[in-house]
Symmetry: C2
Subunit: 201 residues, 2 copies
């Protein structure tokens, strides 16, 4: 928020953001299907037409939450894949960087995991798997490059990728569900480093 933001813009932005935040809280506490437009507008302190103006519907709010998170994710991935350092360094930078944006967006992540593992809730069409798929694809590329340059032994790329992304995925889940996570960011770096040491030449 800069000093040049006008009062009107500030108001509009905050209404829109408030609707997104309250919808997310309700989706996570009651479930998407059980949350009504009436509850969202009541929580945000606005009228129904205000929600319809910004998002058209509950589905529109859901898609905005998913699409804006995907945009953040993709922008972060683009920053994290800079070809600097060894394959080992790049894989660690990529994984810890993803863990960081996960932590920054943990409530949207909570919704994504709930929808992914829960029963169908009538959510609009959005492939939550896209996040996992992209993590797999980028890590596989980095591993393949490390094998090509002779930094890693010629292990099956799919297996090694699975090991790395599984550690990251399970750590995210631990931080979503365990108030006292058994592993932190530094533990992720150690675990991935141990796996990468194991396939190093």
């Amino acid at each position: 928020m800069t000093a040049t933001t006008t009062g009107a813009n500030l108001g509009e932005e905050s209404v829109r953001e408030r609707l997104l935040a309250e919808a997310l809280t309700l989706f996570n506490s009651k479930g998407y299907a059980a949350t009504s437009v009436r509850e969202i507008v009541a929580a945000a302190g606005v009228s129904k037409p205000t929600l319809y103006y910004y998002f058209a519907s509950k589905e529109g709010i859901y898609l905005e939450l998913m699409n804006s998170t995907l945009a953040t994710f993709e922008a972060t991935v683009a920053q994290l894949v800079i070809p600097q350092g060894t394959a080992r360094q790049r894989l660690l930078r990529f994984s810890t960087g993803l863990f960081d944006i996960f932590r920054e967006n943990i409530e949207v992540a909570r919704l994504i995991f709930a929808i992914h593992f829960g029963p169908p809730q009538g959510t609009p069409n959005f492939r939550q798997q896209v996040f996992f798929d992209q993590m797999i694809a980028v890590a596989a590329g980095m591993l393949q490059e490390g094998i090509s340059t002779g930094e890693f032994r010629p292990v099956p790329v799919g297996d090694a990728t699975w090991a790395l992304i599984s550690c990251l995925n399970t750590l995210m889940e631990e931080h979503l569900t365990n108030p006292e996570p058994r592993l932190d960011r530094a533990g992720l770096e150690r675990t991935l480093g141990m796996i990468l040491d194991g396939i190093a030449v």
Copy 2:
């Protein structure tokens, strides 16, 4: 089912099993909270008093699903931890054995994951984390033993355990949510074998 089973016993057993199976299907397709006793008895083709006779309530059915699965899990773990072979062989036997009972009980596993990652649904008190916690504890013990005997290097046990159980956990999730899983049981063995080779002396 043996030849000595009487018709009456068969009938009782199948009503009970049918109630459990239909409840599980409904919990997985609609969610636990949205499923009513009326729907469960209608799907099983029995009356409400029949459900109350066997399970007392919807909560009772849920607890029976969880507790019987936990009993199966614990019996399987007890079989899988026999101290035979190297630590590497034992860890692979343990992990693939757990993957096998997961596959055999995949619909209960689906419910466990949905409850674990979803919003609170008013389910009766049962710690779904007990499965994950026990997997971690047993694998850590086997790794520790492998380190003690000099089979593995003295890596941090918690990190190595995390790597192994993460691969298993994420593979289970893949089989729950992806109609065409990218890794199978043999892939799990290869991936874990790769990690264990990496920490071998």
